[in-house]
């Protein structure tokens, strides 16, 4: 088949809502878009371990410590599935990490905010994992097979994280006045950045149309953001916490909650690297990577020696 015929076959596959698999022909733009998106997603899982990992050693009960450790462990697992999914498109994990460390691939801007209190862990679970699920459930039907399948597995765990975050937030809200205040303060800080997780508004999202045509994106940024707001408002009422938006109110005509104006200047600033923790997050990642270089080199040297000796190499644990 020549390229034209391949393009026709690809278009037909997308039109029939079929799945593209690694060995199938695909347009270069499709491949590049997916690598960028899946790598960004993988990097977010890995960088996301930092703000929450910040509280593992200080968790206020052993039960909460275990839940948090298990969650952070899940996020490392998500990173691994996603790097593997991206590798099927022809870029190695090593290369993706180099691009992350060089600031040439992104991660979700949400992880550039700090976690000064324990309630931030609950807020991240409830709002950030909640927003992630809203974004990711449609991706389980993404046209690229390996990404769609990774998402099915990941979404199950994310919804578990979201429920645990909500439950932790409820316990804080119903706890002592100090705990309640801590929970409210965290919501005040995390609400708007969570809404920004859905990306720029539809009239300022240049790549969305192509991603939608390719069956990567199923709903627009604003549609997903609205869905998230509609889910969160009643949940906040159950929690006895106030979402920090005076314009938030039910619009019977639209059948949705109206919400206030998002500060896109802040979003752009964080994207540019000027959020509170951008430099710290990348510096920590780079440090871990360079501190670990001798360990990875040792593993590679050992594997090479064993291979030369014809022995079986112990599988990476």
């Amino acid at each position: 088949m020549d390229t034209d015929q391949q393009q026709v076959a690809f278009d037909a596959l997308i039109a029939s809502d079929g799945r593209v698999e690694p060995r199938d022909w695909m347009p270069e733009g499709y491949r590049k878009t997916l690598i960028r998106q899946i790598a960004q997603h993988a990097h977010s899982e890995i960088i996301g371990m930092q703000p929450e990992g910040n509280w593992i050693t200080r968790a206020p009960s052993l039960r909460r410590k275990a839940i948090l450790l298990a969650k952070v462990q899940d996020e490392a697992g998500h990173g691994l599935y996603l790097y593997s999914a991206a590798e099927t498109l022809g870029m190695s994990r090593e290369e993706m990490l180099d691009l992350l460390h060089a600031g040439r691939q992104r991660y979700s801007s949400i992880f550039n905010y700090p976690t000064p209190t324990w309630a931030d862990v609950a807020a991240i679970g409830w709002l950030v994992d909640g927003a992630a699920i809203t974004n990711q459930v449609p991706l389980t039907r993404c046209s690229y097979g390996p990404y769609a399948r990774a998402m099915i597995r990941i979404c199950k765990e994310e919804s578990f994280h979201q429920r645990q975050g909500f439950e932790s937030q409820l316990q804080l809200s119903n706890g002592t006045p100090e705990q309640h205040a801590m929970a409210q303060d965290a919501i005040d800080r995390w609400w708007w950045p969570s809404l920004m997780m859905f990306g720029p508004p539809d009239d300022d999202s240049p790549n969305s149309a192509q991603s939608t045509a390719w069956g990567i994106k199923r709903f627009s940024n604003d549609e997903l953001r609205q869905r998230f707001v509609d889910i969160c408002v009643p949940q906040a009422q159950t929690l006895g916490l106030t979402l920090p938006d005076p314009d938030l109110c039910w619009n019977a005509e639209r059948g949705h909650y109206d919400y206030g104006v998002i500060d896109w200047t802040e979003f752009q600033q964080v994207l540019k690297g000027n959020g509170p923790c951008n430099r710290q997050r990348i510096a920590t990642r780079r440090q871990a990577h360079s501190d670990g270089a001798w360990v990875r080199e040792a593993a590679a040297a050992y594997a090479a020696k064993k291979q030369a000796a014809g022995a079986t190499v112990p599988v990476a644990a």
Partner: protein, 261 residues
């Protein structure tokens, strides 16, 4: 589960000795879990972020059952024991509290400790205390994986590059002295051995040494001299870094007395 007793949640130890013994083992698991969890987001590769968190989580699970069981004798919860005791009341081995150092120190410490815990739990599976026997039977499977993980890494690091070999030998030299305390017999463990609750630690050493030596030799590492033998953990005497660990672990819980989380 070996007997109906072990299936009763909240079963209390028969006497203060068994309670203190369970708390010792719980403290070991709790403190090493804490140290391992410090690696989160700092590991050499993502597989290790995951593996170290997984081992930390296993140890935390063991700590929770052991502390809940030990505490039940005196009406203290797992959290009372973890968060409200002072440094001098913690009875973990010093090996479990020493700082992470580089990845080689962490893996050597893990190899020495997990091999010890494996021998101990295998013995405890036939404890006359049904609850401890049940806890050990579950934990021994987890610990087998910890031994395998640490062994694999000690082999790779010891027999990897020249640099990794030197760092791992240095790690072994630094950590080895703390291994002696694992096998010290004191009055409590003698009473435990007499009543068939648990083994004399000294009895575990030959099998432990055999297992550890096999790995170290294959990893081209040299066993250090048995000169300095620090101890005191079982009597609440700890290394200077331990107070900082507790300060970090306990501060939030203590800042909100009586709060539920």
């Amino acid at each position: 589960m070996t007997s109906p007793v072990s299936e009763q949640p909240g079963a209390a130890p028969a006497n203060a000795d068994v309670a203190a013994y369970a708390i010792r083992l719980g403290d070991d698991a709790l403190i090493l879990s804490h140290r391992l969890s410090e690696w989160t987001a700092h590991a050499p590769q993502i597989e290790e972020d995951l593996a170290l968190a997984n081992i930390a989580l296993d140890l935390l699970g063991q700590a929770r059952t052991l502390l809940a069981y030990g505490g039940a004798f005196s009406g203290r919860s797992e959290d009372d024991l973890a968060y409200l005791r002072e440094e001098r009341q913690f009875t973990n081995l010093q090996l479990t509290e020493i700082e992470n150092g580089d990845f080689a120190v962490t893996m050597i410490r893990q190899l020495l400790f997990s091999c010890y815990q494996h021998e101990l739990y295998r013995d405890l599976e036939s404890s006359t205390d049904a609850q401890l026997a049940a806890i050990a039977a579950k934990a021994v499977k987890e610990v087998s994986y910890h031994v395998e993980h640490a062994s694999t890494w000690v082999l790779r690091l010891g027999d990897g590059t020249e640099l990794s070999h030197d760092r791992t030998q240095a790690a072994l030299d630094a950590v080895w002295p703390y291994s002696h305390e694992l096998f010290v017999d004191d009055e409590l463990v003698r009473r435990m051995a007499d009543s068939g609750v648990g083994p004399l630690p000294s009895v575990l050493r030959p099998a432990w040494l055999g297992a550890v030596q096999d790995v170290l030799t294959e990893a081209t590492l040299v066993l250090p001299d048995d000169d300095w033998q620090p101890s005191g953990g079982r009597n609440g005497l700890h290394t200077e870094g331990f107070g900082y660990l507790l300060a970090e672990m306990q501060h939030l819980h203590r800042s909100h007395p009586g709060a539920q989380w």
